[in-house]
């Protein structure tokens, strides 16, 4: 019993340390999936709280803790998108910009975010996932594979196809 308690405390410590290290990555991952900064920050916090509550299930899975956190973040995003499924993935009115930003910069930033999220909307869910994890959270293809339950080779293939599609969408978008 005491051993379990010690083990649990150790995992809690790991999680708290990981919060400092990975909060930004998780928030960016969520942001790119949902397109709302404030919601992304809140959901990133919720991800870690949910992880704390389910630490026992982490022990069973044997994943690196960061990958496990991203799995939880993924589930949270899926729940969130399900709840707001009637809305567009990105609604410009909902994109929050920090209060101290210049209004002109804010408008440009809004446009850029809208453009990127619109482009991401043209990808398959798995491709979006790999782009978010790989380029906005900075995970390696092996780590992405652990989060997504795929082999690194499959992830590489998927990311290659995703970038090509993205290029096509963005280029077409610019031309039009």
């Amino acid at each position: 019993m005491a051993k379990m308690e010690i083990e649990r405390k150790k995992l809690e410590e790991m999680l708290v340390a990981l919060y400092e290290e990975s909060y930004d990555k998780v928030a960016r991952y969520i942001f790119i999936r949902i397109g709302n900064q404030q919601e992304a920050e809140d959901l990133a916090s919720e991800t870690f709280v949910r992880a704390l509550k389910s630490l026992n299930s982490y022990q069973e899975r044997g994943l690196p803790m960061e990958a496990w956190i991203f799995k939880i973040a993924h589930n949270i995003v899926v729940d969130y998108l399900r709840k707001v499924s009637k809305r567009q993935m990105v609604n410009l009115d909902e994109v929050t910009i920090a209060d101290d930003s210049n209004p002109e910069e804010a408008a440009v930033s809004n446009d850029q975010i809208a453009r990127v999220t619109k482009a991401l909307g043209g990808l398959s869910p798995s491709q979006r996932e790999v782009i978010a994890l790989r380029f906005f959270s900075g995970l390696s293809s092996t780590e992405c594979g652990k989060v997504m339950g795929r082999q690194p080779g499959a992830v590489r293939e998927m990311q290659s196809a995703a970038i090509k599609s993205l290029r096509h969408i963005l280029y077409k978008d610019t031309r039009s």
């Binding site: 992304a40 809140d42 870690f48 482009a119 080779g153 090509k164 993205l166 290029r167």
Partner: protein, 375 residues
């Protein structure tokens, strides 16, 4: 071929994620430069367009949520470890009405038993006043299992000598405690109190306190207060932005603590124009009550930081009077092992704690906005 290209692209993407430029990557794979460039620039542009950095405030709030949840789960586990009877009898408000209700039911049951007509089959009829002592031996065991201490006292003069001993063990005084007492925990831990602050629109806010006490959950009101800081201590609230000032520490009984009270002697506000104002402190002491708070673990050190939010704590009334009415966040900090008994001498002990403390992350903590009520 495609597989090779995917690997090369993957390697370049790792490099870009690691801070290298597109050009540096292209130099490494000149044979694939044309195709690679298109894809790498797409990603590079994409990353540049969404340069989202979460706010420090959001990260701070998230951290507090996480740490608060941790303390809550810890408290939950701590509570579940206390045996049921100890938890039950340690709560005067819980056991007293239950016991009273039980007694009323049993008295009622006993009285109704006495006045129930004897049908010859029910064992309970044996204890009615009309029965002779000699008539009862065959039914005695059954009565014993149903009887209560209260009924037994009433009926004992009429019951047969065989029955009386069977009732007796049920009325031993040990089965019901006469008064509820706090849970006795012999061990002690160290509690250290600190203070910190966010920002405000003043030049300085000088606060002088003379005591900090914490209250052990489940203890009698006054007896449960443990002194952590005694004697006058002053701090300048705004100088504590982002840092902490240790107010003092004490060895106190380990357990779960849910209240803090701080004696405030005076508060001085210096406005941006350099004028010094005495802020009115509505009451000498203010009490902070939380629904669940912190545990002081045996042989460990717990750090509690009072984050007094200056801008929400000092108010200017219509007639120019400053009032110090603190809004406080409570952060519960890390634990450090206390020196073993063999290590004597206060200097050594202090040094040891200092060393340990320096490696503690500002971790197990939680913060919650709480109302302070003046007493």
């Amino acid at each position: 071929m495609s597989n090779d290209f995917d690997k090369i692209l993957d390697d370049c993407l790792d490099r870009i994620n690691g801070g290298q430029s597109v050009e540096e990557c292209l130099k490494l794979y000149p044979a694939f430069a044309v195709e690679l460039e298109l894809l790498l620039r797409t990603i590079s542009d994409l990353q540049g367009e969404v340069a989202f950095v979460p706010s420090e405030m959001a990260k701070f709030k998230g951290r507090q949520q996480l740490l608060q949840e941790r303390v809550r789960l810890d408290a939950e586990r701590h509570t579940s470890k206390i045996p049921f009877l100890q938890r039950f009898f340690g709560q005067p408000k819980l056991w007293a009405p239950v016991a009273a209700a039980l007694i009323v039911i049993l008295i009622g049951f006993g009285l109704s038993s006495m006045f129930t007509p004897d049908d010859g089959d029910e064992p309970i009829a044996v204890v009615t006043p009309t029965d002779t002592p000699d008539s009862s031996p065959t039914v005695t065991p059954t009565i014993a299992s149903d009887a209560s201490p209260t009924t037994s006292t009433d009926i004992s003069p009429d019951v047969s000598p065989d029955m009386t001993p069977i009732f007796t063990p049920e009325i031993t005084p040990d089965t019901t405690p006469s008064t509820p007492g706090p849970i006795v925990i012999a061990s002690v831990g160290i509690l250290e109190m600190r203070v910190t602050d966010a920002w405000a629109d003043y030049s300085a806010i000088n606060v002088t306190i003379n005591s900090i006490e914490v209250h052990l959950a489940g203890s009698e009101d006054e007896a449960g207060w443990k002194t952590v800081v005694s004697g006058t201590r002053s701090f300048e609230l705004l100088a504590l932005q982002g840092i902490e000032d240790t107010l003092g520490s004490a060895k106190i009984e380990s357990g779960h603590y849910t209240q803090i009270r701080m004696g405030v002697v005076n508060c001085e506000v210096i406005t941006v124009d350099g004028q010094v104002h005495d802020a009115k402190v509505p009451s000498g002491k203010f009490k902070i009550v939380g629904s669940y708070w912190f545990n002081v673990e045996a042989d460990q050190k717990t750090i509690v930081t009072l984050d007094i939010v200056a801008k929400e704590s000092v108010h200017l009334t219509g007639n120019g009077q400053f009032i110090f009415s603190p809004t406080v966040k409570v952060l519960v900090g890390g634990l450090a092992k206390q020196p073993q008994n063999g290590e004597n001498g206060s200097q050594k002990k202090g040094k040891h704690l200092q060393q340990v403390e320096s490696v503690i992350p500002i971790a197990i903590a939680f913060s919650r906005k709480i109302g302070c009520r003046f007493i």
